[in-house]
């Protein structure tokens, strides 16, 4: 009945120290993208005026997709109200510039706070919803927000015709013209993507990811699942609002139609195309979008079709996204990489 069990290692201290911890894999991509951004800015964006506009489109889509990255791709929360968060940033700029005496730079935190608050309220109301039902409610919320800015709230938002005449941001004696704004935008994208790639591997990031796999497991691990869900929603919304801030400052006007729910669908595909195993995938996706935008007449041409079709094919065939493919070709033997790349 009894077995003799010899305590192999009673004392944890007896274990010989080995190489501890994990390698930091976040630095290499960050350096790569830093170099790429610098080259892009000085070698390409400054060359022609309309390159600056493309670079700004890239910035906006990058920030939008990076905003969606944490709640969606790490947390599995399908929040589709991102057009509203983007609008929060843009309208914060326009309204503060044209209707108040508040320094324009404060539009950045105010827009972020408004977006985060919206996401928090929406997150609280939808706390028991997942999957399709969450997608439906957030899509409707985004639609309602669009309705509000384009008609009901016209007194404040200027309705469909939007708000024009936004002055240039003047900060510490530097006037942020188009060149400076694009530079600031690229820096913001780089910082956010880098921070997220570190967040993803930190304890809060792991908490979000474990909660996606199993809420009971997250709860018994002591993870405050409700707060962590709300925090990730608010964080994503705030990042998304930043995209709106930059676009409004760049164009010096805003139109309600730029904030229709349709934009969310495109942004949703960016990390898929770029690869979801790292936030840099969202940046790559945004780059591809802008490239396609250039390569074909985007609005009328087959651009979005190619884009959506590619996303669909990736979802069906290889849920790891493009980075997944590269990783596979790079080291096919390491099958675990594929696992890591899975959603």
């Amino acid at each position: 009945m009894t077995i003799t069990v010899t305590p192999a290692r009673t004392d944890r201290m007896e274990v010989p120290p080995r190489s501890r911890g994990r390698r930091d894999t976040t630095l290499l991509p960050a350096v790569f993208f830093l170099v790429a951004f610098v080259a892009l800015y000085f070698g390409w964006a400054l060359a022609e005026s309309y390159h600056l506009d493309i670079a700004m489109t890239f910035t906006m889509f990058s920030l939008l997709a990076l905003g969606m990255y944490t709640p969606l791709f790490l947390g599995g929360q399908i929040d589709l109200a991102y057009n509203a968060y983007l609008a929060a940033g843009a309208y914060a700029v326009a309204i503060i510039a044209n209707r108040t005496d508040i320094p324009l730079v404060l539009a950045i935190p105010i827009g972020a706070a408004v977006a985060a608050t919206m996401a928090l309220v929406l997150g609280l109301v939808t706390s028991h919803l997942t999957g399709f039902h969450l997608a439906l409610v957030t899509l409707l919320a985004g639609t309602a927000a669009y309705r509000w800015i384009s008609s009901t709230g016209a007194g404040l938002t200027g309705g469909a015709s939007g708000i024009g005449g936004i002055p240039r941001l003047d900060l510490l004696g530097i006037e942020f013209g188009r060149e400076q704004l694009v530079a600031a935008g690229l820096i913001a994208v780089w910082l956010v993507a880098f921070a997220l790639s570190r967040f993803r591997r930190s304890l809060p990031g792991l908490a979000v990811r474990l909660n996606r796999a199993s809420t009971p497991a997250a709860e018994v691990s002591g993870i405050p699942t409700t707060s962590i869900r709300l925090v990730s929603l608010a964080m994503g919304a705030a990042i998304g609002s930043l995209g709106g801030v930059f676009v409004a400052l760049m164009n010096q006007f805003i139109l309600a139609d730029s904030y229709a729910p349709e934009i969310v669908f495109l942004a949703l595909f960016l990390p898929l195309l770029g690869g979801i195993s790292t936030p840099w995938g969202a940046v790559i996706g945004a780059g591809l979008l802008c490239f396609l935008n250039e390569a074909s007449a985007f609005i009328e041409g087959p651009g979005p079709l190619v884009f959506g079709g590619a996303s669909l094919a990736i979802l069906i065939l290889l849920p790891g996204g493009l980075i997944g493919v590269v990783a596979l070709g790079w080291s096919a033997a390491r099958s675990r990489m594929r696992k890591e790349d899975k959603l």
Binding site: L129, V137, L140, P261, L268, L305, G308, I316
Partner: protein
């Protein structure tokens, strides 16, 4: 504020269309455990095809049949090329939702590419109108109500009594149980998906002469159909019918009271209310919660 009875006829017609979309959702949800967000896309594609064909001189009846057929084909293709391959890779609801969303996007862009990006209106199936209690009512309106209603009832009967309908209920979302019972699960699913697509196509073809449809009507059709399903629930095959008509009358009521721009707010409020107060739907729907 008095509700003119003609408004009620319009609301009934709109509600029947919602009901067809909800029923399409119902068929997909019951057999493939997927809220097929693309059904609005099928309806839009069918409407665009119908409008394009009748605009080019094809007889409305032929155009109607072809458009409805397009819906059925799209439904079947969705099951074969999207839902089944993803399910076979180990089903992750998150991937399914993204894929279905992408599919809707693709259908819309494809429609914009093929049929053009402007809104188009189709010829009515039958011209002419009758005078009823002081109002002119077009035949098309009455036909929409009649055809939609009959289709909903026939599908309801099929699910309740028909052979493959019964098998469909037996499978539910449990493929293994179905296989053990010797049911050809794949075939039943394909049939259900095609019928779902057909119903969505019907909804589209019936609305094509009423209102302008453009390539991005798909999302809003998807949304109202889903809401009708949420309100009605999935308790029985007739729940989507009730949900669709109810939603339409509620819409009519709010637009009379608050004006037509209130629609988006109303839809959001209605869905939140149902989810909070009665998550299983008014007629018992299983809402997926954590």
């Amino acid at each position: 504020m008095a509700i003119e009875w003609i408004d009620a006829v319009t609301a009934l017609r709109v509600g029947i269309v919602y009901a067809l979309l909800a029923l399409a959702y119902f068929l997909f949800a019951r057999t493939t455990d997927t809220i097929n967000f693309a059904v609005g896309g099928y309806a839009m594609a069918a409407a665009m095809l119908y409008a394009t064909l009748t605009g080019g001189g094809t007889s409305p009846l032929v155009a109607f049949v072809v458009a409805v057929g397009l819906g059925a084909v799209l439904g079947g293709m969705t099951e074969t090329f999207v839902i089944r391959p993803i399910a076979s890779k180990g089903r992750d609801e998150f991937v399914v939702v993204l894929a279905i969303t992408a599919l809707l996007f693709v259908i819309q862009q494809l429609a914009g590419f093929v049929f053009g990006r402007r809104a188009i209106i189709g010829e009515p199936l039958t011209a002419g109108r009758v005078e009823l209690a002081g109002y002119e009512v077009s035949f098309q309106n009455l036909l929409t109500i009649a055809v939609g209603f009959v289709a909903a009832v026939v599908v309801g009967l099929w699910i309740g009594r028909g052979r493959s309908g019964r098998m469909m209920r037996a499978i539910g979302d449990n493929e293994q149980a179905g296989l053990t019972l010797g049911i050809p699960v794949r075939r039943v699913r394909l049939i259900a998906a095609s019928v779902g697509g057909l119903l969505a196509g019907l909804a589209g073809a019936l609305t094509a002469p009423q209102a302008g449809n453009s390539f991005h009507s798909g999302v809003s059709l998807s949304i109202v159909g889903f809401i009708a399903l949420v309100i009605g629930g999935m308790g029985s095959a007739y729940a989507p019918l009730i949900g669709g008509v109810l939603l339409s009358f509620l819409e009519l009521g709010t637009s009379l009271i608050f004006g037509s721009t209130s629609r988006d707010y109303f839809l959001l409020a209605a869905v939140l209310l149902v989810f909070i107060a009665r998550p299983e739907g008014l007629f018992s729907l299983k809402v997926r919660t954590t």
